[in-house]
Symmetry: C2
Subunit: 389 residues, 2 copies
């Protein structure tokens, strides 16, 4: 029942293979964490997640605080027991949802996390914390660094995150700099609250902010590295396009603590994962693979999907396609269902359609990470990436 | 690759234990067939169905004819291959949906099969067949006894049903009698079409009509028994309340062919199953257990559900209930999820909630049938039924 992070191998291009140990078992890194937003990875049972080789999950403090509430989760023995998930688990601070729902802007596109149709609910941000309205019952709520940690302690995930302000892409350097200072003060308050009565069953990651400004990112990396965090997460705006994101992640990668496990929040594109891994990122999370699946998008290497990275099974071109999504995939969906059957289920609004495509996409991501881990050991990452191009 | 029905044991009260063999394996009877309306039992993979001890499925010719179409299903190797279901499979004739959508009335309540919100689409019934409008694309369609059999041959289920007119409860004796005569003529046409080029991979059941009129039911039983059907199904209106249904099923039970496998269409209540079994019914199907699950209704013996036969997990009284649905149930949901977690998932509109409750209800029905089979062998049915009261 303790935390550790070992770096097992490094490749010439900066990538590393490691092992992140938690009281709920170890994760071989680099690894992908699937979003169990409201306490379930949408449409899949834990048994199905396990069968796809899933190592870890990330649940959202914001949603779980509003429903069913952390007290209820604690009554049920914590998130692990409630969900029946016995493996490693992150919770975020709740900040991202509050701020992205409040700010609007492009953060949700970059982080691919925003649910469409939810009303803006952020009322005010102050030094104390954030004031917002519950989308469940309209009640007024406050989230402070202390209350976020308190909630996360009751939820009981292995790894917890401090409250930070997620600045959207369109704010200027000046706002970003002031926000960064406040986020740092919030991180210190979070850490103090965390350390009060910590029983060693959870570990905190710091979050690096600074938007697209390299000097601010360096300041933030230095700050977070100096604090007593077990790991570190890359948060905030990563820019308006892939080039800017790669630049920001590369900058941060240079200044982060070299021995701590590193999580890149909300990023899950194949190319972005290869890039992140080369900057030393160990873990990723994103709703993209599972959300895309529910809309009929099945992940495939570019070579099998006309360069797009997926096929849309809603399309009439698959109506009589007897092939599975991917002949080389060992997932339950690819072993049992044709593209035509998946097309039929999706067109007929049968939830089994989304469930089967989700199984494929989860397995796709887990296989990708398995291959990346193997490739790091063999200095082989470029050749592996070429097979996904 | 052949069909047979053996009666293995009889109990004093008229129930029988048997084995219905098909080219896709045998079903131990009495058994419950789950509705895979559009080619999937809503929300469950075949793997999950199997894990619940499911023996058989019934798919709807009407829905599959409209989408994806029987030609497409045939291209995919037939329904078994398309769905990945290697066990015994029924298809109905398509008639029930056409007539219940057209007539309205109470048939859908008795048979618990009608989807809410679908427009009335029946245009005309003639000696030739039924004329209706596709709910998928608005096109005009005809279903005749011959075309129904043709479609069902392409779908490739083990057991097929002839087209009949399903008269609703509110029609009078005179209409029912004339409709019965026409249904019989349609059954002869169906059988002739079936026998043309039959390769032995499918077997037909006749359908007994006659509404709530005992003399008409006797006429229909005699007629169906004389034809070369492999089995027999009880169709049509079973009356306006349980008492009337029990009377009709008991009447039919007396006059059916004593050695042929007997299916009771669209009935799935626990008490109705016990009653049907005593009248010699071997197999049942109904959407009730799976539909109820999607709305949060988990099946339980009356003694554990205040006499109602289910609990509604949407109810706030389960918000902190740490118990599984049923401590004595061995299903995946009961082994891993509390009522409170299921309540949370249902309230949060997470599809996993419906999926887990469906798993429980499927397992509940399969356990019920396992217990009934065991009880028949031991002349024990009354005592078993008492445990469900």
């Amino acid at each position: 029942m303790s935390f550790s992070f070992e770096i097992l191998q490094r490749s010439a291009d900066g990538a590393r293979r490691g092992r992140l140990s938690t009281p709920h078992g170890a994760v071989e890194t680099p690894a992908f964490f699937f979003c169990g937003t409201r306490g379930s990875v949408k449409g899949l049972s834990v048994q199905q997640l396990r069968a796809c080789g899933t190592q870890g999950m990330l649940a959202n403090t914001y949603h779980l605080h509003l429903r069913p509430g952390e007290e209820t989760v604690a009554t049920l023995g914590g998130l692990h027991a409630m969900m029946g998930w016995s493996g490693p688990l992150f919770t975020d601070s709740g900040g991202f949802q509050i701020f992205s729902l409040g700010h609007g802007g492009v953060a949700q596109e970059i982080k691919c996390r925003r649910s469409a149709g939810e009303p803006k609910t952020l009322l005010r941000i102050s030094e104390e914390g954030a004031f917002f309205r519950s989308y469940v019952d309209g009640s007024l709520r406050t989230l402070t660094p202390e209350s976020s940690i308190h909630i996360q302690k009751l939820l009981g995930a292995d790894i917890v995150l401090p409250l930070d302000e997620c600045t959207p892409y369109h704010v200027d350097r000046d706002y970003t700099a002031r926000s960064l200072e406040r986020s740092h003060r919030w991180e210190l308050r979070s850490l103090a609250e965390f350390q009060r009565n910590s029983d060693g069953s959870q570990a905190p990651y710091g979050i690096v902010q600074g938007g697209v400004y390299e000097d601010l990112r360096k300041i933030s990396c230095d700050f977070v590295s100096r604090q007593d965090f077990f790991g570190q997460a890359i948060g905030g705006s990563l820019g308006g396009d892939r080039e800017e994101m790669e630049r920001v992640v590369a900058t941060v990668g240079r200044f982060l603590h070299p021995l701590r496990p590193t999580h890149l929040l909300g990023i899950g594109g194949v190319r972005d994962i290869f890039h992140g891994v080369r900057q030393g990122v160990d873990t990723f999370d994103c709703v993209h693979p599972t959300r895309m699946a529910r809309h009929g998008g099945a992940l495939l290497p570019n070579s099998l999907s006309e360069g797009t990275g997926h096929i849309n099974l809603h399309s009439g071109r698959f109506a009589r396609d007897r092939e599975p999504i991917d002949r080389s995939c060992d997932c339950y969906a690819c072993r049992t269902a044709s593209r035509a059957y998946l097309h039929h289920l999706l067109r007929s609004r049968e939830t089994l359609g989304g469930q089967l495509v989700t199984i494929h996409n989860v397995r796709f991501m887990n296989r990708l990470m398995e291959q990346i881990r193997e490739a790091i050991g063999m200095n082989f990452l470029d050749r592996l990436e070429a097979t996904y191009r």
